[in-house]
Symmetry: C2
Subunit: 176 residues, 2 copies
């Protein structure tokens, strides 16, 4: 599918509500469960989304619009949430994600992005030349990939509880 | 994780809201997109969930509680939604899923399921002996597996739009 700014913004605006409906108020063990050693829980994922909101998407869009290819992006720390989330409840992280996302979308609107601006290029520290459109499409895909991950982590907690039905749920066999 | 009825019911009650936040009001192409030939769109998945609500979970729980192992379940038609959804909009399917789920959860509550009842057995036409607890755990896992699927289908629509970032999103390469 072609990237369309209005559709992308719409999908981005939905993710806090999706995380809320999956997680807000669930029994605590469902927010800290994971898929085994060195995998993330829904709690970890919320912290990661907040960190990306603060250091990745809008800051990088600004670098593209203000500096073009001349100034490479700061590398993104994919494990920063381990520090960021310390001492916070899952409910606090959900609120923080929701307010961070609102600010990001307001900042995006202020950028008054035109189809011309979408083709502007920046420099990713590892991937090289990228466009603003690719950055924004990645923001959307990144959101959805973490909705996939949260629901998959939760789903797999019942790998044993489903008994013989495991046969019909390949996701529980780590096959997809 | 051990199956717990209260937690399971809580998660089941959330799925209509999750589907709404992902899909209600999105541009039509996002509800009919899929992952290639013979794969399901979010629209197809909504129809499938409605059909399961009407013919699978509660009807099978009733068979277990009323007939035990003596009466095998009716086989579940995994393609019935193709007929069921005909002529309905995605918004209509979301409303139908929401009201069907409410009825199912009311029916579940009326069954006054105790820990003793959870161990009762029924006969699956293909899988053989199963317990009520396994049926209800499967209901939860089935819901979450379709949240995974809807968000994965949507995510993959931007496989090309993300450009070089595809490298960092294995989900776009059909690797997970």
């Amino acid at each position: 599918m072609e990237f369309q700014l209005e559709q992308a913004t719409d999908i981005l605006s939905r993710t806090p509500a999706t995380m809320n409906s999956l997680l807000r108020g669930v029994a605590g063990e469902w927010t800290v469960c994971n898929e085994g050693p060195d995998t993330w829980s829904p709690y970890d994922i919320l912290g990661h989304l907040i960190h990306a909101e603060k250091t990745d998407w809008i800051p990088r869009a600004r670098i593209i619009l203000e500096h073009g290819e001349a100034k490479p992006f700061e590398p993104f720390d994919r494990y920063a949430q381990l520090e960021i989330s310390k001492g916070k409840s899952a409910a606090e992280l959900m609120e923080e994600f929701e307010s961070s996302r609102k600010k990001s979308l307001a900042a995006l609107e202020e950028m008054k992005i035109t189809s011309d601006k979408l083709t502007r290029r920046g420099t990713h520290p590892a991937l090289g030349k990228v466009t603003l459109s690719e950055l924004l499409a990645t923001w959307v895909a990144h959101d959805l990939s973490h909705v996939v991950q949260v629901s998959r982590v939760m789903c797999r907690q019942y790998s044993e509880a489903v008994g013989p039905w495991r046969e019909y749920l390949p996701i529980l066999k780590h096959e997809q």
